[in-house]
Symmetry: C2
Subunit: 702 residues, 2 copies
């Protein structure tokens, strides 16, 4: 037995993500050796070079044999449409745009080849990854014919990474960016990050937290960002920076950051010029303004459009853009927190510069396990809106709970705005609804320096799904999960079926054991880990869970109809009418929109109270079932990843029960109702749950 | 070409440390296959099991072939002296104690075997690692005959790891301990940490920062520590905790932490009992008391002995110990900071309980690039003293500067106390001087979650050297460096010679470009990165570099003779006399002990000023030379480790010049002297250097 590499731990530690390229079954590997004897590149650009490297790496791994150097009878050929031989094939490249690709088995220069082509080298890179994905998920090259074009232009990760290495709401270790050793040291991991992103079509990354420090715009940090941009560039990934709106004061010594002050505009223009000298393809700025204490144009009685347009003018000469967040959260108590963004931004429709895109969270509060889609989607037809999802699970159990977010993404994207017939959030996001060409999807990254990048194997699926669904927001969650599971574990139904089975209901399970029936924001204070529905003593009303659930002896839920905050009126009239009536409101969003008596009957025949208890138990049961399903996979999955997941599922089961018991105990203290027959009482009394503390929860910078 | 593992990056990323076990040269590998056909274990304990696993892993890697299962004609046999066949050999095991080992090629049960034996399974484990080290550094099994017994009992790492994951003075990423997922998840990395430590004889680890939080003594955190103890136990490593002296107040609700209060003593006794229920072999407490704001017995007008003995009584029934730090740093300005520990502790000699050991830093200030040995060594004959080194390079350029600390450790340990004829610091530390059996050496760990553990490949050498020299404080730095280089790169002179050449002068180079001629504490404030000799505005006098260098127009240096603080009187009379006179003071410590005129002539014929400039230039030149030497190794060392080191050497060269230029510019502003002829002026003026800021320096918790 040869063990030349016995000294090296060959552990499956998750580092390889879905790009594992482990050997295919014998017959498939032999076919691949026959069909892909070499990899040829018909031009020389940095992007084509990394594409060829990736295809070589992938084919060697999958086929078990390194491809030959030089030419061969049956090569894989990477070439753009500018290549004379490709042009001669008269392929339908015109519709591919500058990022789409075509992969086809064809005859080329007299040889049977697998051609990976596109209008640009970036398209060829995406085609290369698509071909590898096809092979990793059971496809063969013999009759390959793939074509795809992204439906969304900006597919961007938002890293909430602080300059001291702490990742806000990060549960996978420190920031991937080692600012201290940049720009000198370019960790090979930066390249692997770019490979992973390119493999799922992500083409932009915002390096620093939206709660930004001005220092990130100093020459010292621009040089560091430029080093990362150099690493990412061949992979088609642009670098963006979060900009602190008050930087002209903090760095420029100005007295004001008023966006209409010419000195301020000049400062930003000079700063943009400076950045573009270091990063010629710099993407632009992301801005969180006048929200949660961040400075912004409202400090000077200017509008968000005034602020965004001033920054947009600074980057426009360089082709840059501004992503301006609609997540506003004023310093004073709002009428209804869910209404703030719409109230402030709707009147600004049509007032933003061409290179501004407004970034709107998927829901109107803040990345809850479930939220109705944000009412701004469809309500600002003259303004490009990009959607912001949170990939990191701030409110869904951090890294240790298994919750596949594909269904959350898909549910929001498939939501009908009812502003126009058939219009969905996806149509708004991909620009089809109003013909916008500046389109985008942002995901708050769940990536850190942990060896497995995302804190757990299954969290990798959320990064993966975000990228795939940003490329095509009409993709369903299940096929994306199947791809991921096949690539991450093995492309056999015996593994993929149960894994996808676990994944598909996992987010709903979290909803069930944390926030059933449309409840929201019941988490403990600050870190948002564990239950805190009883919290009522925080300074501002909307910081308290009781603000959101409004439970009392008679009922529960937030009345957002006319008798309450009338937030439903922010939706299209037809939808608003539907949501105004509990009977026509989806039960999954019921208590988001309505305050209802505990004893109101639901479709199941159960009362609201009994339905809540039922959901809590269903959530806990689902996790128990996942544990059993995972246990059956013990000998199908490598020990290291299996064990870590098994451990985390045990944590999740314990904590799902904690959520269920603490919540039930609290509601009973409010409604004084008995438990439905046959239901287990909480393991402890309410005081016990209230006394629990989780010190040093990660992701919660002080 | 078979590339079964092509999908896995087989990168040399430093994770394997010195336990790489890469294949030996063909002939050596063949010999090893012949001489070690199987690995047999003559008893079944967790420690013997991990020892066998390690030997199998090592032999498979080194020989290129997995050893056979079952028995063979020429096995490696792991057995304690209790084994009947081993006993029959009548080996000289008596002197090995409970940690020493013997590895010998011998005839055993009729077969030619390599026997790894000891009185205990821990000894067998150490012998196993010694055998592997011997093979990794060019030895062969044919006539192996190794025997060694540690000269120091407690060989302990001190992790200054906070519960939020920040490592104080850590430059290798977050804390290795993921407190959030403990005790559930036992990261395989914890096991590799234990393997690495056991391989160099480290047998204890203090998990949390000496600036301790009381929470680390709560049930929640005791359970987490217990999980780590379970992982470490088979490797002979005991877990210790830093104890916050005021915990009885913070956790116990007591009104006082007075060590003579019976309630306080009872609280600690109960706490110790609780810990020992979770960790039966818990090592004991490390305490930093009344230093830099930490609480302690002096708060109650009790002595350090009172505090230590009270804690010692709590752990004594369980066989635990207390490591009580002598690093005291009062809240009020001292006469001379260097004198504080001696002043406070010397009178307590003989007053500590039997299971207390006083932990004394190598020098009297704080881990400077060079300090004279601490005057307490040799001055407290009735008290066991352990020495504390800082492996992490707080004051020596963080992770990016190459500074091999073996010479620093060796220089201190070899220092003659002159309390008795021939007595060295090593004799005090290993207990020979006064016949103490409780002996110890502590190293402040440089380990974090970075892939290469220590922030750079060469930093791994400092971890390695600490362990080896704690096992035997009389080891010289060069042979330890040779071992490390052979194991870390390859056992060929073409690599080992230049690598060891670089290492051996590297710490002196840091001394030269930072703090020549015995200067100290000239670093920038807080984070201690980069030069700050001009800093004079901090609240307390001894926080300022000017306090330490005392430079003015006429001279430079801290007068610690009778005309100054008389700190020299803390040394043995013969040594004090020598240090009282600049002419008999080692030049390397000259300005530590003396304030001298800038124009005083030194042995070289140069003035103090010219010598300082000469040293600065020598330091920079040494780094330039290291860069050139490393460049020559480009094709002898794997790309990933070579590139990172090359990058860091470039950083170091730039920053060595920064140190040199900034320091020279500052001294010239004080002494108004011209530069010696032919010397290059600083690249910028002093104001430029003073204006430099390094925000977000790692390892400096706010």
């Amino acid at each position: 037995m040869l063990v030349a590499s016995a000294g090296t731990a060959q552990a499956e530690d998750g580092y390889d993500l879905w790009l594992r390229y482990r050997p295919l079954a014998t017959n498939d590997a032999a076919a691949l050796q026959r069909d892909a004897q070499s990899v040829e590149r018909r031009d020389d650009t940095p992007t084509l070079r990394v594409a060829v490297d990736e295809v070589r790496r992938g084919l060697a791994g999958l086929s078990g044999r390194a491809s030959a150097d030089g030419t061969s009878a049956h090569p894989v050929v990477l070439a753009t449409g500018a290549d004379r031989d490709v042009a001669a094939l008269r392929l339908p490249l015109a519709t591919l745009g500058d990022e789409g690709y075509l992969v086809r088995s064809t005859t080329f220069g007299g040889r049977r080849v697998t051609l990976v082509t596109a209008n640009t080298d970036r398209g060829v890179l995406y085609g290369s990854f698509a071909m590898l994905r096809y092979l990793q998920t059971g496809g063969s090259l013999a009759s390959i014919d793939l074509t795809s074009t992204p439906r969304v232009k900006l597919r961007v990760l938002n890293h909430w990474d602080n300059l001291d290495g702490v990742v806000e709401r990060g549960y996978a270790g420190q920031s991937l960016w080692d600012w201290w050793t940049l720009p000198d040291f370019r960790d090979p991991r930066y390249t692997d990050y770019a490979r992973a992103n390119a493999s799922i079509g992500i083409n932009g990354t915002v390096l620093n937290n939206v709660n930004a420090k001005a220092e990130s715009l100093t020459p010292r940090y621009i040089a560091k960002a430029a080093a990362l941009a150099d690493v990412f560039r061949p992979y088609g990934i642009k670098v963006y920076l979060s900009a602190r709106f008050s930087a002209p004061i903090e760095l420029g010594g100005l007295k004001t950051a008023d966006p209409l002050d010419p000195q301020v505009a000049a400062w930003w223009k000079a700063k943009a010029d400076e950045i573009y000298r270091a990063i010629p393809d710099f993407g632009g700025f992301l801005v969180k303004a006048n929200s949660e204490g961040q400075p912004g144009p409202r400090d000077y009685h200017r509008s968000h459009a005034d602020g965004a347009n001033m920054l947009a003018a600074a980057v426009a000469p360089h082709g840059g853009i501004v992503m301006w967040r609609a997540f506003v959260y004023a310093d004073t108590d709002p009428e209804d927190r869910a209404k703030q963004a719409y109230t402030e931004f709707k009147p600004l429709d049509g007032k933003f510069a061409d290179n501004v895109i407004v970034q709107v969270k998927n829901g109107a509060i803040d990345f809850q396990p479930r939220e109705p889609f944000h009412p701004l989607f469809g309500a600002m037809p003259k303004t490009p809106l990009m959607i912001e999802f949170q990939i990191t699970k701030e409110y869904l159990g951090f890294a240790t709970h298994l919750a596949y977010l594909g269904p959350l993404f898909a549910e929001t994207l498939a939501s009908e705005t009812m502003q126009k017939p058939g219009e969905t959030v996806a149509n708004v996001v991909d620009g089809v609804a109003e013909g916008h060409t500046l389109t985008g999807m942002a995901g708050v990254a769940n990536i850190g320096r942990d060896r497995d990048w995302a804190g757990s194997t299954f969290n990798q699926a959320n990064w993966y799904a975000f990228g795939r669904m940003a490329w095509d927001p009409t993709l369903a969650a299940a096929p994306v999960a199947r791809e991921w599971a096949a690539m991450t574990f093995a492309p056999t139904p015996a593994i993929v079926d149960p894994v996808v089975g676990m994944m598909m209901g996992s987010r709903e399970a979290v909803v069930d054991y944390m926030t059933p029936l449309g409840l929201a924001h019941l988490m403990a204070t600050g870190h948002h880990y564990g239950p805190g529905p009883w919290v009522a003593d925080l300074k501002r009303s909307e910081w308290n869970p009781v603000y959101y659930h409004r439970a009392d002896k008679t009922g529960i839920g937030f009345d957002r109809t006319k008798t309450g905050s009338d937030a439903v009126a922010q939706y299209a009239p037809a939808l608003a009418r539907r949501l105004a009536d509990p009977a026509t409101t989806p039960e999954r969003e019921l208590l988001w929109f309505h305050h209802l008596p505990w004893d109101r009957r639901l479709a199941s025949g159960r009362t609201v109270w009994a339905e809540m208890v039922h959901d809590y138990d269903a959530g806990v049961d689902y996790v128990s079932t996942m544990r059993r399903q995972w246990a059956l996979l013990q000998f199908s999955i490598d020990a290291e990843r299996w064990t870590k997941t098994a451990t985390y599922l045990a944590v999740q089961e314990r904590e799902a029960r904690w959520w269920r018991d603490a919540s039930v105990a609290y509601w009973m203290s409010v409604n004084h109702l008995p438990l439905p027959p046959g239901v287990a009482p909480p393991a402890h009394d309410l005081a016990w749950y209230k006394a629990l503390k989780v010190p040093y929860a990660p992701g919660n910078p002080q």
